[in-house]
């Protein structure tokens, strides 16, 4: 290729902690010991939650479930950078991020259990309900943040999406609006290398997701998505920038999903086990952060065992509560399509009650 036409090489990947847990103390974010441990705790909860969810799906207790294992650093690091009042727009895969931002674990379970009443906005929890169509939420987040700007509210909105989502028009329209209106939004891409079976290089010919921001006049950063501190720091900076009215940021977190796209597909059809193993053993986000904590003298085997026990108990309780809820109330199907039911829907509802197929109870929390 001629020099003139050659492509700009991709910029470096922002990284703070190496695979063996070493880090330059000068560069570390100003977090307390407790915060470090809290981050680690959430990473462990996410992974354990995920493993239990996959198992429950296999036993028919949950519907199709999208696993997050491998993406804990990207999810927890970014969610940790938000204040409670900041808004989060997750996708179906951000169970870890959503729980860090306050969504009750039980409610997440209800969703995957196919309940109609899974998402009733909990007081003070700024997590938007998941919608399945890819990339559509990017525009909602941009609009939500535009409203904050209009209302002079010093808040940031963070929206998650995958590498596949960057192929959709909604992503590009969202980026363009964000750039033009200098919107206080953080666009957070978890580049986990695949959209179901389609690998990154089939999704886009650009070397990175981050570079797509250039065309829209939006700043971007590419971070090591398996380094929770790097993700945290990058997101914190972007969120501050939003508070200061300095506009949007695109963050590309380079990471990997260990399991199939969802419990409904088989990743061995499109990935080699060596590739998966390379990420699992060489770059695991939880292992890396644990080594870091140990090097800092903040963590030991005993604490690890206590934490494991605490998480068991926590998840046992959440799952028990979910199961105690029993089947969903069928009338919820009719209740919320309008505020005031049109006559015809009310008639349909009454007809349904008259024939009453099966019972059910409410389980709003």
């Amino acid at each position: 290729m001629s020099k003139v036409l050659a492509r700009k090489p991709a910029g470096p990947v922002f990284n703070l902690v190496d695979a063996d847990g070493t880090a330059d103390p000068q560069l570390l974010p100003p977090l307390t010991e407790r915060q470090y441990i809290e981050m680690y705790r959430w990473m462990k909860i996410s992974r354990e939650f995920d493993r239990r969810a996959v198992m429950m799906q296999r036993k028919g207790q949950l519907g199709t479930y999208p696993s997050l294992e491998g993406q804990e650093a990207a999810q927890i690091g970014s969610a940790f950078a938000l204040r409670k009042e900041d808004m989060m727009f997750p996708t179906y895969r951000e169970n870890g991020a959503a729980m860090v931002h306050g969504l009750p674990i039980r409610q997440i379970l209800h969703y995957w259990n196919g309940r109609a009443d899974h998402f009733v906005k909990p007081e003070g929890v700024n997590v938007f309900p998941v919608a399945v169509p890819i990339a559509t939420q990017v525009l909602h987040a941009v609009g939500y943040a535009m409203a904050d700007k209009f209302k002079r509210q010093n808040r940031a909105t963070l929206v998650y999406f995958g590498d596949g989502a960057t192929s959709k028009g909604d992503f590009h329209e969202g980026m363009n609006f964000a750039g033009v209106f200098r919107v206080p939004v953080v666009l957070f891409c978890q580049n986990n290398q695949y959209a179901i079976s389609v690998p990154y290089h089939r999704q886009t010919a650009s070397e990175t997701i981050a570079e797509k921001a250039d065309a829209y006049g939006v700043e971007s950063i590419r971070v090591d998505g398996n380094d929770v501190l790097a993700v945290y720091q990058a997101t914190k900076n972007a969120v501050y920038k939003a508070y200061l009215g300095e506009g949007p940021t695109l963050i590309e977190a380079v990471t990997y999903r260990y399991n199939s796209h969802t419990t409904a597909d088989d990743h061995t059809r499109y990935r080699s086990s060596t590739e998966v193993e390379k990420w699992r053993t060489g770059r695991d986000p939880i292992l890396r952060f644990r080594r870091f904590l140990e090097r800092q003298g903040l963590w030991n085997e005993n604490q690890e065992n206590l934490l494991a026990h605490e998480i068991q108990t926590l998840l046992d309780e959440e799952i028990k509560q979910m199961k105690q809820c029993g089947p969903s109330n069928p009338l919820h199907m009719f209740e919320y399509s309008y505020q005031d039911l049109p006559l015809k829907v009310e008639e349909q509802r009454n007809e349904f009650i008259a024939r009453r197929k099966g019972g059910g109870i409410e389980c709003r929390k």
Binding site: G114, R115, K168, G169, V345
Partner: protein
């Protein structure tokens, strides 16, 4: 002949099409290497190569829009939309372009393409995967809409859709993909578009339906026939646009009573159109108002409630009884 499920019959039809016409291309999300999330395109990339069967970026408007360009330029694209619930971002390409380019150019450009999409509720899929929004598309002139209800028809209708000079939306009821097997010829054959099929003869009442509702319709009819000593005629419409008015009218003229059954929400569903046709052309043959058994006017709920949303054999049977006893 070979015993095939609907998904196997579709795979077989696609293989026949790729074999017999070098201009046929198949593309969409996960259709290449992975063979489709339901395996409709399994093995086709291996057999025909990446130039003819390929994965695209995740972009429905992109998939349909480029398919239009290819069709206009002489190829025979078959685009897959992974689930019908994700077709909406391609709505503009389908409605404003695929369906209108023939009219817009007064026939100098045509769009001979097929869009395949799995659809309908009943497989416990996540939100929005279970939509039955055929009515949005039936309303648009210039586009054909086809829904098979069994493996034999699925293959024949799909091959006819591929040969059709106009754009065809081919909706595949997910619930029937692996529901049963039947003998299907392995060689090419077509089942004509725009022609309904009389699935069962009868003289007392006509039941009009399509796709995934037919197994429930058969069940309901069996029960109703025993209980009421009647003979019902079951008609699988197969093509929703254009509707086979002749078969609809002839049936109502014979039986004098009718029930329309669909899974989609009732309001402005295709059922309304069928009733309007009957009113226009067979009103004086009617002995009772035509009953509509349909989904409720709410978005299809998450899977805990989806079976309560879909019309079942009982509701259909009750509709037949109401109409018979009017």
């Amino acid at each position: 002949m070979q015993e095939m499920t609907m998904i196997q019959a579709i795979n077989n039809a696609l293989r026949n099409a790729l074999e017999s016409d070098p201009g046929v291309l198949i593309f969409g999300e996960d259709v290449g290497h992975n063979g489709g999330v339901f395996r409709a395109t399994d093995g086709l990339q291996q057999q025909f190569g990446e130039e003819r069967v390929f994965d695209t970026p995740l972009a429905e408007s992109g998939i349909v829009g480029t398919a239009i360009g290819m069709a206009v330029n002489g190829l025979k694209p078959i685009a897959e939309i992974q689930f019908m619930g994700f077709i909406y971002s391609a709505f503009e390409q389908i409605i404003s372009h695929a369906a209108r380019i023939r009219t817009r150019s007064q026939g100098s450009y045509t769009v001979p393409m097929v869009i395949r999409a799995p659809y309908g509720a009943g497989i416990r899929a996540p939100e929005l995967h279970s939509d039955s929004s055929e009515a949005f598309f039936v309303h648009q002139p210039g586009l054909k809409v086809v829904v098979p209800s069994n493996p034999y028809d699925a293959k024949g209708l799909l091959l006819a859709a591929i040969e059709d000079p106009d754009p065809v939306l081919f909706l595949e009821p997910m619930k029937l993909y692996r529901a049963f097997k039947e003998p299907v010829p392995t060689e090419k054959y077509t089942v004509p578009l725009g022609k309904a099929k009389v699935m069962k003869e009868g003289t007392d009442i006509s039941i009009f339906s399509w796709g995934a509702m037919l197994p429930a319709v058969r069940q309901a009819v069996q029960k109703a026939e025993q209980e009421m000593h009647i003979q019902a005629q079951i008609i699988d419409l197969r093509t929703l646009s254009p509707l086979d008015e002749e078969t609809i009218i002839a049936s109502v003229q014979k039986t004098g009573r009718a029930v329309v059954v669909h899974e989609a929400p009732k309001t402005a569903g295709v059922g309304s159109e069928i009733i309007a046709i009957i009113n226009d052309k067979a009103l004086f043959h009617l002995e009772a108002p035509v009953a509509r058994i349909a989904g409720y006017d709410v978005p299809p709920p998450l899977f805990q409630l989806e079976d309560l949303y879909i019309p079942d054999a009982d509701t259909i049977r009750a509709g037949i009884e109401r109409t018979m006893k009017y």
